[in-house]
Subunit: 583 residues, 2 copies
């Protein structure tokens, strides 16, 4: 245990209160070997003169972040995934889940019965929003404070392992969202142990983690071991690194690079694919550039630019960051490069943003039409299905799933779920609850919102976000679900769609229509996206594979073919053509 | 004029107080063309409701930072340096000068009469500590607040131009220290004009400059135009960028890279060499790595590691950062790589520091045995000549001048100046004066100092730092001066010493002796540095060029040659051998 700020450390064991002194060693480490401690034993650390605290690296907090830690035997779980070797980046179709609201149970076990449906839909990876222990039972997960402990109300460590095992049994990978840029505001005792945070930099969520100052070797070790723990002990396949723009690190060997190197080392040792995918607001291709080229070498990053380009086109919204988007050319650029802002002036940011990403392989970008943030940061947590018409939902699906990037779906979007996804917490500190309410109001005011937002602390706010899986059987939800399934099938089976490459891409804007041509060898797929409200004609050739206006997807019916070399789109939506023998 | 925070802007002209309104334009720019304003006219800007302030980009503040700005005609100076094309990095021998204390006049003009001596010594570039306008007449220069104005008490814009012109007339380059990481505490009105600073990051000197947030395009422009102004309008040849570790910038197109690109562009336009050399505490070779390799592409950086390695060996000091140094192997590593810390744990920093720099060309490192900071940050501002014996001074000279790096001398070190270089200011705000006194005491306490430090505000503190050029004519000062001259001559004339390359370097530690072999083609020079106090024997071959123990350098006399292939060093000091026909 690393506690450089403590003069001495003891461990206090329940139920009898036995205390064992730890031996101090170099650089603030303390250790002891204690006989006869069975799994399930609860314990706390007693820091010299500074109270009795849970283990910073606790595996389980059965009574939440303020309670004792519990000893877990990491080898006791019986795994059934021998031979599982993970999935390469290019095969990922990610499905983002918030454990608490995905199922009526709100647990890991509550997800398992849905896995067959997800696999059959064409999803290849389940991504969980953060599961590190947070206070109470309701939280998006970004307020986690015990980074090595699995949320008790979700089912704890064994619950997570059962879910991962069940995923692997079905050929699904499991990705986990981890937060390395800040710690939650309640139950965070790390500062009592060591210099985990620094005042030299600030993040929107408070002081930054100390990745480059005095004591940072050990702080980095804490976070790196956390990452490796998920991979090794929980058999997780990929980590989504939350908002790495909040990781300020001027060191010559950046934390994220070190994390990548350690992950590669573990990957070699375990013999299965391990992935690191960043959420980054930096617009910096160096994040996903190879280390040999001066980059951080992460495997991929979310492209918010792609989302904003699609969202602004579909909704017409121009407030906040959407003001930087809205033209078809923006989306065309996102298809070509992955980013829209590559050094251009951003009105929203009031400065230039980004750097050229044309040389970054397409497979390094994760794209989405919705995600927890883009939905949940809105005043009322509206999904796209609450904002736009049915044809637009289909168009959004086409934009994402026919892209040369790695697609991510937000739980429920595939059938047009109508429940919102709102900001909710269950803090126990009344002062904090009030601060969160006020902070939330301030954020939403900045977003242009003028009303009273839903109360983040209210259980009702949380409950209203639960998915209604029964919708899948009703129309038009079922139409949408079938369209997603068909698009994912085509993505797998059509070589031009399967191959993720920007090099053989051709994008053009013709009036209201954006034409995206993808190629692989002789195979060519052309997608025509009509963002207008009127019928449109576009130049294209090939055999019709799919028209979102067809009745089988709940549309008004496809228009008959136009003149040779021309295709007619009936309404907002898209058409997919294929030609496997191009001139 | 950029003043996004002002509703309206007027310019007020002296002596009659005429006011002219500026037209507001996009993104906070305001402008006006005013007829009949002669050079010498004084003016202030009146910001809507927020007082009357000097021009943020003032060329001259004849009454200091609080007074009016003065119109300067940038084309009125008569230059005589046509045909001057600057110097390449590899030819620099830098001589660092503090304008206020170098000469009895304490002005730019006071330096000119010394230039012939400097050239004759072998110096090729004069480097001035910062000259941007600061309050009062006494300051190191790092409290500058009018970055485009040349310190009035030094002689203002024309004084600087006369000095640069005089340098160029003698084939000397002029380098200027510029501070882009913070602004001085007194007379800094920039915050009233725009978002020049950010609270998101902190530097040891206060809030950081806003290089990556809202409004940062214009803030960057301000600093970049400042850099270009020195090059173009003042004919400066190189900029020394103060403490770039205080420039926190997460943008995808870092300010320093942009600065480098703009400098390259101006270099092409002007047709003369322009250099950017950073002071960096990052230990990060990316600072001087090429942009194509993911680096920032700066031309060079100071190697504090080299200094600390030499200083710790010569003085035996181990307090503060010197605790991380002290072995001959440290210095050997500095010779091999430029850095000593390349990812190793630093006790002083309490974390790992640096990254491998072996691939960075030697010419990118500026090394020194002393500089203003290493002398001036000490409690009493002691130079090496106040700390070690005469033989050690000669050894320091040998270590620096026989290195494969760009050498920098701190004014007066070449003759063993005895005046200290202490921290001094002449603020006018009594609260600030007291804060500086206390801050200085705190810094020195951290340095291990327990007494009452010299009063930074006292004129006496400043006056005691004036050089005593008369010492040059006295012994042993003259011995030292001659040794510097001879070393610089050899550096120019011996191919193995002239060629700055790490690739053909051989460094080894043999007991108290460090052996440094440098080669170029058939030419080979071997330097033997004896850090011990006793006579020492070392393996080496070649013709003796110089022994610091010789009587001509004030030594006890060289020892007669030892056995073949062995060289004997009489005392602390060094020997230089040459063989131009190696087996």
């Amino acid at each position: 245990m690393w506690a450089p700020l403590a003069g001495w450390v003891e461990v206090e064991l329940e139920p009898d209160g036995r205390r064992v002194a730890l031996r101090g060693a170099e650089r603030g480490y303390h250790s002891a070997e204690i006989e006869g401690v069975a799994p399930g034993t609860r314990y706390r650390f007693v820091l010299g003169g500074d109270g009795s605290l849970p283990d910073p690296a606790s595996r389980f907090q059965p009574e939440g972040p303020h309670g004792p830690s519990e000893v877990v035997d990491p080898r006791s779980f019986e795994w059934h995934d021998e031979g599982w070797s993970g999935l390469p980046l290019a095969e990922l179709v990610i499905y983002e889940i918030h454990v608490g609201t995905f199922s009526s149970e709100g647990t890991f076990d509550g997800i398992v019965p849905h896995l067959d449906d997800l696999r059959e839909l064409g999803v290849t990876a389940v991504e969980l929003m953060p599961v590190a222990q947070f206070p109470g039972e309701r939280n998006w997960g970004y307020d986690g404070v015990d980074l090595f402990a699995v949320q008790d109300s979700y089912g704890g460590p064994d619950g997570l392992k059962r879910l991962v095992d069940a995923c692997h049994a079905r050929g699904l990978a499991l990705a986990l969202d981890v937060v390395f840029n800040h710690l939650g505001p309640e139950g965070n005792y790390l500062g009592r142990f060591g210099p985990y945070v620094t005042e030299r930099y600030r993040t929107p969520w408070g002081p930054a983690i100390n990745f480059d100052g005095a004591g940072s070797d050990e702080v980095r070790r804490f976070f790196i071991e956390n990452a490796l723990r998920w991979f090794e002990e929980y058999h997780v396949d990929a980590l989504r690194l939350d908002a790495i723009d909040g990781i300020v690190d001027l060191s010559a060997h950046p934390f994220l690079q070190e994390l990548g190197e350690e992950t590669r080392r573990l990957e070699a040792r375990l013999g299965r694919s391990l992935l690191l995918i960043a959420e980054s607001d930096l617009g910096d291709p160096q994040v996903i550039e190879r280390i040999e080229c001066g980059g951080l070498g992460l495997d991929g990053q979310w492209s918010d630019d792609f989302h904003h380009a699609v969202h602004a086109l579909l909704t017409g919204e121009r407030n906040g960051y959407y003001g930087d988007f809205g033209s078809r050319e923006d989306l065309a650029k996102a298809y070509r490069h992955g980013y829209v802002y590559e050094g251009e002036y951003s009105q929203f940011r009031a400065c230039r943003h980004g750097a050229p990403a044309a040389n970054i392989p397409a497979v390094r970008f994760v794209v989405f039409g919705q995600n927890h943030d883009q939905v949940g940061s809105r005043p009322l947590g509206e999904r796209l299905s609450n904002l736009v018409d049915f044809e637009s939902l289909k168009l959004a699906a086409g934009c994402v799933l026919l892209s040369p990037f790695v697609p991510l779906l937000f739980m429920g979007e595939e059938y047009g779920e109508l429940a919102p996804f709102r900001y909710f917490v269950s803090h126990t500190d009344p002062g904090l609850v009030e601060a969160v309410r006020q902070g939330r109001t301030a954020v939403l005011t900045g977003f242009g919102w003028r009303g009273e937002p839903p109360d983040p602390q209210a259980e009702e706010t949380f409950r209203r976000c639960r998915l209604d899986h029964a919708l899948k059987k009703k129309q038009p939800h079922r139409y949408l679900l079938e369209l997603y399934r068909e698009l994912l099938r085509l993505r797998r089976e059509v070589p031009a769609l399967r191959s993720l490459a920007k090099e053989e891409l051709e994008v053009a804007v013709e009036g209201e229509v954006l034409r995206l041509i993808r190629r692989h060898g002789d195979d060519e797929a052309t997608a025509l996206f009509n963002f207008g409200r009127e019928p449109a004609t576009a130049r294209a050739s090939g055999r019709m594979l799919l028209d979102s206006a067809e009745e089988r997807w709940g549309g008004l019916g496809a228009l008959p073919a136009g003149e040779p070399g021309q295709v007619r789109l009936r309404q907002r939506g898209f058409i997919l053509l294929r030609s496997s023998n191009r001139g």
